[in-house]
Symmetry: C3
Subunit: 251 residues, 3 copies
Amino acid sequence: MAANISSLEEQVFEFAAFMKNVDMFPVFFTAHVSLACLVVREDSKDLGTKFRQNHPFTLWLCTVIASVSGVFLANFLFGDPLVDILKENKLIAFITILWYLINYCPFDVVYKVVALRPVFLTAAILQECLRLRFIYLGVQQAAKLYPTGYVIIIIGGVIKGNGYGFVKIVERLIRGKWIPTTNDLLDITYFAKSSLYASVLFLLQHMEVLAVPVELLYLGIVVAFVTLRLIIVLGGVRDPLLPIELPICTL
Amino acid sequence: MAANISSLEEQVFEFAAFMKNVDMFPVFFTAHVSLACLVVREDSKDLGTKFRQNHPFTLWLCTVIASVSGVFLANFLFGDPLVDILKENKLIAFITILWYLINYCPFDVVYKVVALRPVFLTAAILQECLRLRFIYLGVQQAAKLYPTGYVIIIIGGVIKGNGYGFVKIVERLIRGKWIPTTNDLLDITYFAKSSLYASVLFLLQHMEVLAVPVELLYLGIVVAFVTLRLIIVLGGVRDPLLPIELPICTL
Amino acid sequence: MAANISSLEEQVFEFAAFMKNVDMFPVFFTAHVSLACLVVREDSKDLGTKFRQNHPFTLWLCTVIASVSGVFLANFLFGDPLVDILKENKLIAFITILWYLINYCPFDVVYKVVALRPVFLTAAILQECLRLRFIYLGVQQAAKLYPTGYVIIIIGGVIKGNGYGFVKIVERLIRGKWIPTTNDLLDITYFAKSSLYASVLFLLQHMEVLAVPVELLYLGIVVAFVTLRLIIVLGGVRDPLLPIELPICTL
């Protein structure tokens, strides 16, 4: 029996380590970039039905920005060259192919497939895994640069987990859409908040306040992220954290 | 008699040296950050009475930006990481405490005290001393990086003395307030102009065109800054430099 | 006869090398900065007739930004200090003199002369030569930093050849003019497109896909740029590349 439990523990640990180290390319990236393509395309609908046909370059640029928004933002805030990420020719080619397929495929087949509920759901779950990896790596990088800059470490995680949310205002402006009355720093979305909580937990673990192996913490947050995303997509809930936060805030 | 005069001279010089080197933390900083809190709070009034309650994080972020706007702007223009200043955990904690007290104190006591005329006046005077120190250090830093870049040296001083003025357009956008028809580069305020004059004087002294000991120059500008600020606050004048500039401009 | 041809070839080659290496200062720069002054002045017309008189500093700043917009943009995207270019005191003085002459000369003589058709045409032709030099150097610089970053190399050229087009949205904002519905990334102008084509050609030559001596390629593009600019100015055509592109796009 004891051997059984230890074996279960070991298996969980192994799975946690796997989640933390599995190569994100290409499966998780495909999901993430496809959803980025979708978001940009849907958000352009109110710019006219001909927008996709008339502005392919703008759409491509915005898709690239949406896909690597976290890196752009990190480069901007941490003083690295903004163009840096564009040196990854493979990544650019990869985004370009997905952009083409989702926006200009004959009979719009690829778009319709990605928009299918089960496909969309799977992509959303995979994206959550990628999002957490981004957050984790963002926290690590910031912690290396500023070992005691706690605010900076948290920022390093949050912008990687909700890059598009913060960059959206500029990305929309490129598409000629200007909505100054709202932004992710004013009306904080679920994605910004969950990135914040994850970053804080990683920071606490990094500071050894939270005495948990990082693999288990990582796995726990992945499970939470995936569950909450499922609630959002399936339940049509905007912010599943709100019912938990409200009673705490009123205290 | 001669001894007396020399002693007076010495005393002035000593006081000037004191003003130029006295630690700005915590007294002068408290004044400066309190006024920054006040400015952000007052400027949010037209965003609805519930803005403070509904957007505490946005208000906090904007208060931080307003407090260290000069550093943000300098980092942006001189190619340093924007997040750099946030590594000062003490400064962030300090701003956070003042932000909390001024915005969310029971019965709004702290806000009412700071808004009291004598308290506000004292804070304004202390802020002018801090502002000049910022300008002086900004000029020094820029001069070290670009010894013959006169325009850059002046910019280095001006952005430190009127940081909030230039950053306001972005800081307001974070609060969902967008006013594109005016900015401090278009409608030049007293604070921008006084920063410019002070920077030019420091530059001339640095270039040894102005053969005055830097301590005396510093003291002279402090006296001018404080006097002009008193005129602004007490007299309700928007720009006390205008009556001096107008006859020169028409020449 | 053979000697004759070789001599003609030699002459072309010599002229091409001359075009690629001739000092751009002061003749070509004068043309470029004068046109920048003109553009900023004309674009400010709808801001009121008194704009020039009431906002000389803003006009000066915008003229400087328009004149060196490519460098600003390159510094921004490649992580160099934005103020860097302002250390060139001679260049700033040069721009300042032209700004003064074109905007505030008695009886507006200089403005009227520059706006004369033959003068304007000559300036436009000279500007095209400068524009290509900027593109060429931009491609070279980017290729040195990112030898295999093809997208970055192209960006490096495009922003140097159409800097003002991309910066315009911010430059206008400084003048209190905000037009979010259009920008050069959304509605791609002739200047952006020609910069793109030139950058791609230089990149192909750099990658040795295009086996042409760089001098000849340079000369060829100069001729194309000047011809197309003549069509624009003389023919009042907005985009002379459109008739060539349309049949290719519909394929």
